[in-house]
Structures are given as C-alpha cells and as structure tokens.
Amino acid sequence: MHYSSLLTWWMISISWCALFLIAVSTYLYLKTREPSGSSGILGKAKDFIFVWILACLLILYILTINNSSAIIFIAGNVIVEIVLVVYTMRNRGKKT
C-alpha cells in the first residue's frame, strides 16, 4: 500500500507535536522561580540544550522517513542516545 500522499500531513503532525513540546519546555523554563542564573546568549543557549536536542531529533526523524532510510535512522538514534546520556549525566550531577 502506498501512503505518499499522507507524508505532508504526517510531517505537520510530528512537527506540531515536537513544537508543542518545545513550547511547553520554554514556558516552564520562563515560568520557573529559580532560573539557573545563566546570563548572556551562550548561557541561555546552554539552558536550552534539551530543546536543541528535541529540534535535532525532529529533523532526524523527518529526514529518515522522507528518505525511507533505516540506516540514517539507526545511525541518528545511536548518536542522539550518546548525546542524551552525556546531557543527563552532566546535568543530573549539577542540578538535581
């Protein structure tokens, strides 16, 4: 069965979902009473690493599905997993 006509719909749906998550993360970050104290563009960018990861994941998944490439999917997931482990280890130690 061929569903190529649904690709645009699918991309809109998954993008909307990822953007919703990014919006909620940003809202929660701005709402927090105890900001990390980071200043400057670089500092804020560091606070938003998690959001950058989400954005990268979205691009990876759209690319994978658009190209129907299992290889990109596997390689991309492995890289993202490593990045997530590093992010979690570094931030858990400092902040939680």
């Binding site: 069965m1 061929h2 569903y3 190529s4 649904l6 690709l7 719909w9 699918w10 749906s13 998954i14 909307w16 979902c17 990822a18 919703f20 998550l21 909620v24 993360s25 929660l28 970050y29 709402k31 927090t32 009473r33 105890e34 990390s36 998690f50 990861i53 989400l54 994941l57 998944y61 994978t64 599905i65 129907s68 299992a70 999917f73 596997i74 997931n77 492995v78 993202v80 997993e81 997530l84 482990v85 992010y87 979690t88 931030n91 858990r92 902040k95 939680t96």
Partner: protein, 826 residues
Amino acid sequence: MSEAEAASRLSTFGYNELPTAKFSGLKILVRQFKNPLFFILLAAAIVSGFFEIRQSIVIIIIILLSVILGFFNEYKAEKIIDDLRQSVSLKAVVSRDGKTNEIDSRQLVPGDLVSVYVGDIVPADIRILECKDLEVNEGTLTGESFPVEKNYDAISLQHPIPQDLTNCLFMGTVVMHGSGRGIVVLTGRQTEFGSVSHSLVRSRPETEFQRGVRKYGNMLITLTLVLVVAIFVLNALIGRPIIDSLLFSLAVAVGLVPELMPAIVTISLSHAAREMAKKKVIVKRQVSIEDFGNMDVLCTDKTGTLTSGRIALKSYLPFGEDRQLLEYSLLCNAAVVGDKITGNPMDSAIWEYAVENGLQHTIDNYTSIDEVPFDYQRRMMSKVVQKDGRITLITKGAPESVIPKCDYVSASGTNGTSNEGEPIDHFRKVLEKDLAENSRAGYRTLAVAYHPVIETKQRYSVEDEKSLTLLGFLVFTDPPKADARLALDRLKILGVDVKILTGDNELVAAKICEDLSIEMRKILRGSDLTEMSSQELREAAEEATIFARITPEQKLDIIKALKADKHVVGFMGDGVNDAPALFEADVGISVDSATDVSKDAADIVLLDKDLVVLANGIEEGRKIFGNTTKYILMGTSSNFGNMFSAAGASLFLPFLPMLPMQILFMNLFYDVANMTLPTDTVDMEVTELPRRWDIDFVRNFTLFFGPFSSLYDFLTYGIMLFIFQASPALFQSGWFVESFWTEVLVIFVIRTRRIPFVTSRPGKWLTILTLACVAIGTIIPFTRLGAFLGFTALPINYWILLVLMVATYLLLVDAGKVFFYRVCKF
C-alpha cells in the same frame, strides 16, 4: 428512686450515652462510592459496553474489586476501634429501692443517687450531696493536669463554667482521691461531656487528599470532555461516519481514564494500614494516611501527649539536710503503698521518686505514733513518728498554710530532731519569691516542717502544729514523656512544625517547650486570640509556637486558620476538650487510653503512647503518597500522550489508528502492569519533606511528558506507513506494541528522579510484573488472541527499529526529567 421510676425516666431521657458515631458496615460501604472517579469509571464501563461487552464487564469487575477491597480494609480497621470502645463499658454504683447496686452506666437517669470512689470515671453530671476529701481530675474536660477539690457547698454564680462548679462532678472526669455521693442531674448528650462531643455528629471536613483527588477528577473530566468533543467533531467534519466517529471518540475517553486508580490507592492505603497496625498504629480512616504523610503542621495538646499526664516529684528544695526532707515526706504521707502506689497523686509521686531512687527503706526504723489527717480547711496533714526514743511531729501541706505555723527555717548541718536554724522572718521574702516563681512556672509546691515533741500524749491534734521548723519544699510537675524529645526531633527532620495548643498557662507550656527543646517563636494566650480578626488569626497561627489558656473552640479556630493558610494540619490530643479539633484537623491523632469521644473523632489511634510511632507513620504515609503520585503522573501523561496521537492520526489516516477494543485492551493491560506499584520502593528524598497535591504540577507533568509519547507514536506511524507500507492490521499491531512498550517501560524512568536501576532500584514485584507484561504484549500479535483483537505478526526489521526507538525514547524522557525537575519544583 424506685426501679419502676428509673425505667420510666429512662424512656423519657434515653440512655446515658454519648452521641458517638455508630459502627456501621453500610456507611463504610456507601463511603466507597463517594468518589468522582468511581462515576467516571462507571461511565467508562457503560461506554465500553457499546464496543465490547466483555471489556465492560472487566471494568465493572475491577470497580467492584476495588470497592470490596476498600470496604473490607476500612471495616476491619473500624471494627478494631469499635471493639476497643465496647471493651470500655462504665459501671456506676447506684441506690434504688433502698438497695445499692452496680449497674451499667448507660442505665443511669436524672434523679439517681450515685456514689463515686477513688479511680472511678464519673458516669454522669452529678450534684454532690456529701463527700470526703474528694479530688477529681477534670483534665479530659478542661485540660487541667492537676486534680481539683470538690465539696457540697452551694454556689451562687450567674454563668458558671465547669471549672467554677466545685460542687458538681462531670461525666468522663476521674476521681483521684476521697469519695462522694450525689444526685444525677444530667445524662448523655445533655452533660458537659456530651455537649462537647455533640459537635462531632456532623459530616467530616474534606481532607487534603480527598480535595486533591476531587481536583484531579475534575481535571480529568475537563480534559476528557475537550478531547472527546474535539475528536468527534473533527472526525465528523472530515466525512467519517457519525457512529464510527462517536465510538472512536468514546474509546479515546476510556483510554484517558486510569480506571485502576481507586484500586491502586486502596491497595496502597491498606498495605500502609497493615504495616502501621504492626507498629501499634490503628488507622481508622484510610484516606487520612496520605494526609498523615503530607502533614506539615502538628498541633498537639500538652497533657498526656507531650507530658506523661501524671504528676511527678520534680525536685526538692531542702534548707537543711536533703535526705531528711525526703524521709519526712515519706513518713508524713497518705499514699497507699502495696503492689502499686495509689492515692493522692502528690503523695504517690513522692513514693514513686523514693522507689526509683532506692530510698524507700530509709524510714524503716521509724514507728508511727499518731496522725492528724489532711483536711481542706488546714490544707495540711501531720504525722507523729518515733525513732531511737525521740518523737517528732512532721507536717506537710500547702506552703501558704504551713509557713505561718513555722518559727524557724532549718539550717544546713542540722539533723531535723530539734528546733535548730534561723528565725523564719529573715527568709520570708526569699520564700515568697521562690514560691511565686514555682507557681508561675506551673509547678505545685508542698512545704515540709517538723517539731520535736517534748510532751508524750495519747492523741495529737491540730493544736500541736505550731512552732514548726521549715525543712524545705517539694516541687511537683507533669513531666515530659521520655520519648517525646526523640519523636519531636524526628518530626523536625521530617519538616513537621510542632505547635502546642493547651488549656494550661503559658509558663507551663513554655517550660515544656524548653524541656523538649521546641523552638519557641511566639506565645499567644486565648485572651489574645479573642480580639483578632480572621486574617490576624491566620498570621498569628502561622507565627506562634504556643497557644496557652485556650478553649476548645479556639483550638478549632487555630486549626481552621492553619488549614486556610494551605497547611496540612494534624492534631494530637486525648481529652474530651480535644475532640472537636481532632475532628476538624486533616489528620486527627489520638491514643488508646484517650477518652472514647476523642478516639471516635480521631483518624489515627496509637495503641501505645509512643510518640516515635508518629514519625514512623508519617514516613509510611509519604511512601504511599509517593507511589500513588507515580501512578497518577505516569497514567495521566502516557494515556494523554497516546490518546493525543490517536486523535491526531484519526484525522489524516484513511483508517482508525487503533480499534476501540484494542485501545481498551491496551489500557487494561497497562493497568495490570501497574498493580504492584504500591509495593515499589520509594527514594529517600520523597519521604524527607511533606508534599501535597499540586494539580498545577500534575497538569504541567502531563503537558510535558505526554507529547514525548505522542512524538514516538507519530514516528511509529511514519515507519509503518512510509518504510513498511503497512496494511491497517499491521499498522495497528506495530503501534500497539510500540505504544505498550513505551507506556509500560517508562515506569522505570518516571518512578524516580535518580538514575533508573543505578541509583534507584525499583521494587522486585514491580520489575517482575512489568517485564512479564512487556513480554506478553510482545507476543500477543502472534497469538490467536491477537488475531481475535485484529492484530497481525510484525516483521523482524520492525523489532530492530523498535528497540532503537524505545531506547531513545526512554533516554529522552530521562533527560526531559532532568530538565523538568529543574524548572518545576514539587
């Protein structure tokens, strides 16, 4: 009064019993249905009946199981309390038809002639007609630790309070000394005791936990309604058949409801109740366990909870030889010393002190010659004793009575056998100052004096109580309990602020605080509170540590003020005057030895007067709260995520992303995996501080973690549609397995803030059941049941992608957790 007249009056006035809540299995059963989630689940069961009657029956069975579980656990706990109450039946010695008999105090009627003796609990309100040395402890009614003297003299007062009525005995108070006889004037709920307990026969205020569940139910209803209407309207608008659209939107609604929540909560609570019962803590109302854990303010009565409720000899202040003072106190003493020490509490306290310190045999060489008994006019007693041929008259009593009879003060180095020492006039100011200080600090003081007898007589009298030499003072107090300090320290560590609410004066309460190292921020008296507005009272209640000289109504106001200030308030007390406060508090805590009415008002009853179990109970409550919260957070967010993506997919897919019965099956199967959550281990930081229901937190959690699940659902759609070109059955099978894996395995990530399995290990049964469910969920598409549900076998390549995808999902949620808890405090 005749028996016939008594029977007639009994039918007029009713039984002499208090309006305590009756034990009723029906009431307990009805209580199980008063839960908003019950109605949501019932609706879900009816709705699911449209799709698949078997699913509907399963949901109804689950609802019934949780109701039965809750009923039996609460029934068992209340039965224990009821049995305890039944075992304490009061007897009364009554004269009818010229005969004196002991009858059940429930049978007493106004007009009965009743006798009371030492140790009796007064069975009704009685006007005293005759008495001898009668002293009664009215602490259960007034909060006063020390016994009050009673007499039969007429009193002329316009609006007397119970403390003023020295010619009356009140129901529930205890005879400490002497005996009396009087006529019953009031029985049952008409008594002072009954008027206090009467306020308890009203509906219980909603606990913090119940408020939280109600708000959670409301949030769920709102979310469900919005989604159901939106899905139905959008599906209808894009041209789907109306019936299909309706059935699918209702299936999503069912998918959103965590139908096992009542069962999970009940299992958690009954598990905690069983654990607490092993530690001699009876939980009367299971719903109070979580509030017990979340309690951040503990208001406690002083007498009998922080203090022993028994008078003890605190110290003795000799002017001469200290040993002599204690010897003479033991000799001039009215306590009855046998296997147990009974009688006048202060005389008993002297004996108890002597026994504890091995000094009781110091008087063995004395011979008793005569006694001049105590009476309330003189307020002292004397004893004439002989040792080595020397006769001495010893007098002991109220300092204001004894000092005027003294000419000398014993000096150091004297042996107490002759009038040696300094003239008392030199010391009057010092003595008065000492006595005033003791009195202000809430201590009771007795003076001991002696006089060497020159003239041997057959009988001695009050005339011989003169030219005495003051030997010293005995200072009595109601001491703090041995374990109170330890318990309070643990409560402090657990983040529970302790406040003392007492009818005693502020100095006594402050002394107890000092003895127990309770931080005293501010002391308020009842009279200070009467002038305050409700706002001022809220501020004062927040700030003060001690509330002294307060009435039962003021205790109630303070608890209401603290609750209004968003505190989860516990109240611990054991007297009748504590009952309304026990009732109003989020958690009412009493002890087994407390009055029936206060035990009845309490949520939790300590079988042992061991305050340390309080702290244990709080920790247990926090564990339960932690596990219930895990279920709610995981259930709501994953259900929301899955249903959100199902709703989205239904808009662009040419077929339903999952059939209604597949959604119901997955939802029920997921709940089974969660059944062992109540036994899960809880991280230490969860029990460190009190937490409370925060519906905003639950909403934020759902909005944040729900889309993670949706993101991976959409990714699965993409894989199934554009890589595998899946048929509807293959698509639904692929999404079922992915959805189930992510939904179930995320338990291990969300259950802790730490690194899953590395720094926080899940409970054994949770791990086993979850992994078993994942295994079963994985093979279902390959089985007949899977075929029956509309699933089909999945290709091997899909499993490789699935493992990678789920691993990334779990790591992403873990990273999201780090981000989330950094910005959302809970």
